[in-house]
């Protein structure tokens, strides 16, 4: 699930983000809804799903290391699922359900690996357009998203300052350190609001 964009010019890379999102939704739904009984058929369908996902990775030229990293990152899900399902359901169903979940999660990772964040943001803005009718302005939504991206390193820096200020005084606040962080962050927000107004955003 630790998926960061890997540049490439495969068909998967070049496909529009909207199309990829739609395919992800369709395949995800199919994997969830395809019959699980009888157990053998269910297992075959789940396995076919996983094979399809691997083929898509191959098509993107990411079948080696990136695929293995994605699979490895699902290990906690696998452990959690196998343990609880063996207790409550039994081996065949545990295998069936676990394979399906792994296939969907790894497939979703492929979207992140082959699509730039900026492109997904643009697609998101388009997808949100119908919300204008209920009073949500998609341009303001995407503005707020960009603002938040810009602010993450700033807030992380404020958190570091709070930590250092404590260390300098030899105190450890633990979770109480969140209070000064919130104060600094919200003051920063008010400064940013001024800067937004000054740049013509109402």
């Amino acid at each position: 699930m630790i998926a960061v964009y890997l540049p490439g010019d495969s068909l998967v890379h070049r496909a529009p983000a909207g199309v990829k999102l739609l395919l992800l939704a369709v395949l995800g739904l199919a994997l969830s809804l395809l019959p699980r009984e009888p157990a053998l058929l269910g297992l075959v369908l789940a396995g076919a799903g996983l094979v399809l996902v691997v083929l898509l990775y191959a098509l993107a030229g990411l079948a080696a290391r990136p695929l293995l990293r994605q699979l490895w990152s699902t290990r906690w899900i696998v452990v959690l699922m196998v343990v609880t399902q063996l207790i409550f359901l039994g081996p065949a169903e545990a295998a069936n359900n676990t394979v399906r979940v792994v296939a969907i999660v790894v497939l979703a990772g492929l979207l992140s690996l082959t699509t730039r964040t900026a492109e997904l943001l643009t697609t998101l803005e388009r997808l949100l357009a119908p919300l204008a009718r209920v009073g949500v302005d998609p341009r303001r939504v995407s503005l707020t998203l960009s603002l938040a991206i810009t602010m993450i390193p700033v807030i992380a820096e404020l958190a570091r300052q709070v930590r250092e200020a404590q260390q300098a005084r030899g105190v450890r606040l633990g979770v109480r350190a969140v209070v000064p962080l919130l104060v600094l962050a919200l003051r920063h927000a008010d400064d940013v609001a001024d800067a937004l107004s000054a740049r013509g955003i109402d």
């Binding site: 992140s112 938040a148 940013v192």
Partner: protein
Amino acid sequence: MARTASRFDTRDLARIAVFAAIIAVLGLPGPIPVPGLVPITAQTLGVVLAGTVLGPLRGLAAVAVFELLVLVGLPLLSGGHGGPAVFVGVTAGYLLGWLPGAFVTGLVAHSGRGALAGWRVALGAVIGGIVVIYTCGIPVQSLVTGLPLGATIISSLAFIPGDLIKVVVATLLTLALWRAYPPAFGRRAERRGVRSAAPTSVEETAAR
């Protein structure tokens, strides 16, 4: 028809963005290992605080902004996770439950007039931060894993102690913030005519 975003002014937008960033930063230390099951994170603390500090609508918006950033692939979830994968996995329901969770937390915590009441904040955190989030999370987990509902509920009980600790922490932090910096609560504080008598530097603030 409810008009939401268009009613937010620049100050609201900046606060919403800042809180989304705070939720992200709270995930930076990574998951806190808990003996038993899947580790807990401080990010749900951020979700509850978004509700108690910003109120229902802006709190909901802050969580929505955070989750949209996760959806488009930023690795902001505790442990460096992100991308659409987390919205189709086992924890998808919990993640989506953060949205109504922050809203309900804010609704309860900000109900009533005058100063923020500790019991309302705590009640909001319990209902929004635990009841609502689990109500969304458990059925989805059951659906995704194929594990029956009853068994899923039993396996989720392991998280309750950690969540109760988070509720207490969120309540104490909210009340401390109310004393330290009332303007944090926006219009609510302004209505009461609270003037900022807040500490000005990191040093001073950290000393509290």
